[in-house]
Assembly symmetry: C2
Homo-oligomer: 422 residues x 2
C-alpha cells in the first residue's frame, strides 16, 4: 500500500519535472535544439563502450531467462547499432523545425487577425518494448519538436535504456535544452504505467508502441489521449486485371525483403480469374524464397502443395516467412475481408484497370492504400516525411508514419486592438 | 444480466449499421449530400408542430422533476429554435465539402506518387446533454463530412431527440444518404454509453459534450479515441502596459455579453501597477451591469466593496454574472495562475507592450490565446471556420472550434507502377 503510494508520487514528480521542462522548451530556439542534438549524438558515441557494457547486463539476463532469440536480437546494442542511432539523431538535427510555423492566417472583417500556429504537444509519455535504440530515436524526435518526453521501456532493456538516457541528460546539461526534457522511469513495476497514463493535465499524450495487448491495456487505463502504434496485418489484392509480373514482384518484395516488420504483407487475396493464371508462378517464386504458404480450398486446388489455412491465419501477423492465400470472387469480397481482418495499416491492389484501383483506394480504410507498389514503403523516410517515432494505426491526429509534424499541435493567436463581440 | 447482455447486443447492432452507412457515405457525392441536407431542413420545418409536441412531453416531465429553470430553458424547442436549427442545416449544406481534398502530393525519386487525401473519420459517437437542437446540428455536420453518427443525448430530452432524428431519417429515406448514417439510441440507461465507447473497430471517435464529470467518465471508460468538449475557464490578464479603455471594454464584453457560455471570462488577473489605475473603473462598469465581484486581498484593498474570493473561486466556471479578481505582480504570475487553474480554452492579455503580448501568446498553452480582444470570439462562425460541433479542450487532432475539417482525417494513396523496395 505504502509502496503503491510512493509509486504514484514518483510518477507525479517525474510528470511535474516534465511539465516544467516542456514549458522551458517553448523558449529554446531551433539552432539551440540542433546544437544540443549534435552534442547528444557525439556524447553517446564517446560513451558507446559503457553503453555496450550496460546493455550486456540486460542481454545476459535475457539469455538466463531463456528469452527467444529474435527478442534477444532486438535487445542487443553493438557499435554498429549505436552508430546508427547517433547518425539518426544527427539526421533529426538536420530536419526542418516544425515549431512556430504559421499554418493559416486570416483577418476577420472586424480587423481581428487570427494565426493558426504550430506548437509542441507538451509532455509525451512513450511506452515501448525491447529495442533500446528507441530511447535515443524517440528522445531526438521529441526534443526537436520542443516536447518533453517520459520514457518507459521494457524491463528487459532497463540497464540499456538507463545508460542511454543518462548520457543524453549529461550531454544536455550545458545546453539550452533542460535535461528533464528526457526522463526514463527506472521502476519497472507495471503499476507505473497505470499512474503515468492517469496524469491528465500533466501528460498530454501517451504513445504506446508494441503488442496489441499492451496497446489495448494502455488505452483502456488511460485518461490521457493515446496514439497507438501497433499491429500491421497488411494485404495484397491481385485483381483480375493485374499485370502478372507486377503481381509476382510486388508480392515477393512485400513478403520477403524484411518479413519481421509491420509493413510486410501477411495475406494475399487473389481474384479467381487471376488465380488460375498467376497464382502458380507467385507460389513458385515464394517457395524459392523459403516462404511457407497456407491457403483456402480454392487456392489449394490451384497450388496443391500449399498447407491448409485455419481461421486464425486470417488474423495472424506472422512477422516471418509465412503467407496466407485466399481466392476471392470480386474486389468487394477482398475489401470486406480487409475490413474484417486488417489492421488499417497498409493494403495494396495490383490491377491495370484504373476503375478497380480507384474503387479500392476509396473503399479500403487504411492509413496507406496502395495501387501497384510494395507495402514496404509505409515508412517516414521512404515517404519523404523524415524520421518517424512510429506508425499510427488510428485515425485521430496522426495516421500512418508519425514524424516531427505529427508530434506537434496548433494554437490560435487572436490578435486584436480592442475588438469586442456585438 | 440478460438485459445487460441485450443492451450490449443492441449497441453492437447500432454500431454495425453505422459502419455500413459510413462505408456507403464514401460513395455519396457533395451534391447528393447537400440535396439531402436541404431536404432534411425542409422536412423538419414541415414537421415542427409534431416536434414541438414531443418536446412538450420532455419539458413537462422536467417541470415535474423540478429541474432548474436554466436547464428547462435549454430543453425547450419552439418554432424559433427549430427555424434556427433548420437554417443552420441549410448553412452547412452551403459550406465547402472537405472530403476528397488533396492535402499534399509528392512524387518520390522511384516514381511512387504519394497523395495525402482528406477522408471522413467513419463512425462518430456523440454523447451530449440537454439541448435537443444539438441532434440536428451534429447530424448535419457529420453527414456533410461523410461520417455516420450515433447520437446519445440526455434522458431528459429523449422524446425531443427521437422526434428530430425520426424526421431526419424519414427525410433521408429517398436520398443518396443512407438513413442509418443518423441513429439515436432510445435506451437511456447509463450502461449504453459504456458499451458504445468500447466498440473499438466499429466506432472511430467519441465526442462527449457536456460537464467535466461526464467527459472524464467517458474518457476513462473508452477504448475509442475521445475528443472532449468541456469546461471553459477563461482569463483576462491586464498588463501594466494596458490601455485602460480597452481593459474596461474587453473585460465587460467578455463577462456580460453572454455569461452562460464557455468563452465568457471567469477570472480577471490584473498587474499591481494597472490595478491602482484601472481596477476601480472596471469594477464600477461591471457593477453597472450587475456583475458580482469577488477578489483577493490586494484587489479588495483597491475596491473594498468587492466580496472575498475563496480558494474555490479560482477553479469556478461561473457561467453567470460573477467574476473573480486577482492582483498579480508580474506577467509570469498570471501565466502560472492560468496554467494552474485554466481549462486551456481561451485566455487574453490586454497590453500595449508587444514584448509582453508575445511572451503571453507563447507561454499560455490554450487553444485560443488573445491579445487585446474579447474571448467571446472563440467560435467557429466568428473565426470564419463555419459551423462547429463543439470546442475541443484537448491538444490531439482538433484544438478549439471543431468544424467540418476537424471531423475528417486523411489517408495516403500510394500510386505506383510496380515499385518495390530495395
Amino acid at each position: 500500500m505504502s509502496s503503491e503510494k510512493n509509486r504514484k508520487e514518483i510518477v507525479f514528480e517525474v510528470a511535474k519535472r516534465a511539465v516544467l521542462a516542456a514549458r522551458a522548451m517553448t523558449r529554446v530556439s531551433a539552432g539551440e535544439k540542433n546544437r544540443a542534438l549534435n552534442k547528444v549524438a557525439d556524447f553517446l558515441d564517446e560513451k558507446s563502450e559503457d553503453i555496450i557494457f550496460r546493455n550486456g547486463i540486460d542481454v545476459e539476463a535475457a539469455r538466463e531467462d531463456s528469452l527467444a532469440e529474435p527478442l534477444i536480437d532486438r535487445l542487443v546494442l553493438d557499435a554498429g547499432r549505436i552508430k546508427s542511432m547517433t547518425d539518426g539523431i544527427r539526421e533529426v538535427a538536420e530536419l526542418e523545425d516544425p515549431v512556430g510555423e504559421i499554418i493559416q492566417e486570416s483577418v476577420r472583417p472586424n480587423g481581428l487577425r487570427i494565426r493558426k500556429v504550430r506548437v509542441p504537444l507538451g509532455v509525451i509519455a512513450m511506452i515501448y518494448e525491447s529495442r533500446p535504440n528507441v530511447t535515443g530515436d524517440s528522445a531526438a524526435l521529441c526534443l526537436k519538436s520542443s516536447n518533453a518526453v517520459i520514457l518507459r521501456g521494457g524491463s528487459e532493456a532497463l540497464n540499456s535504456n538507463l545508460a542511454v538516457a543518462h548520457y543524453i541528460r549529461e550531454a544536455l546539461a550545458d545546453t539550452a535544452v533542460p535535461p528533464d526534457a528526457v526522463q526514463v522511469i527506472d521502476d519497472t513495476d507495471r503499476e507505473i504505467v497505470k499512474h503515468l497514463v492517469s496524469m491528465k493535465g500533466l501528460v498530454d499524450v501517451v504513445i504506446p508502441r508494441g503488442s496489441e495487448a499492451m496497446i489495448n491495456a494502455v488505452s483502456s487505463a488511460s485518461l490521457v489521449p493515446v496514439i497507438g502504434h501497433g499491429k500491421g496485418l497488411c494485404h495484397i489484392y491481385v485483381d483480375s486485371s493485374a499485370d502478372p509480373e507486377k503481381a509476382v514482384e510486388i508480392t515477393r518484395n512485400a513478403k520477403v525483403q524484411r518479413p519481421g516488420v509491420c509493413n510486410a504483407v501477411e495475406t494475399l487475396l487473389i481474384h479467381s480469374e487471376a488465380a488460375e493464371k498467376i497464382l502458380p508462378e507467385i507460389c513458385r517464386r515464394l517457395r524459392e524464397d523459403s516462404v511457407e504458404l497456407v491457403g483456402d480450398e480454392k487456392a489449394r486446388k490451384i497450388c496443391p502443395e500449399m498447407g491448409e489455412a485455419a481461421d486464425e491465419d486470417w488474423s495472424a501477423e506472422y512477422l516471418s516467412l509465412k503467407l496466407s492465400v485466399k481466392v476471392v470472387s470480386s474486389l468487394e469480397e477482398a475489401v470486406d475481408h480487409i475490413e474484417r481482418y486488417g489492421s488499417r495499416h497498409s493494403d495494396c491492389i495490383i490491377a491495370e484497370d484504373t476503375c478497380a484501383c480507384d474503387n479500392f483506394l476509396r473503399s479500403v480504410d487504411s492509413s496507406c492504400v496502395y495501387a501497384n507498389a510494395s507495402t514496404r514503403f509505409t515508412d517516414g523516410a521512404q515517404m519523404g516525411l523524415g524520421a518517424e517515432i512510429g506508425i499510427s494505426n488510428q485515425k485521430l491526429h496522426a495516421r500512418g508514419p508519425m514524424g516531427l509534424t505529427e508530434l506537434t499541435t496548433y494554437k490560435y493567436h487572436m490578435l486584436g486592438n480592442g475588438q469586442i463581440r456585438r
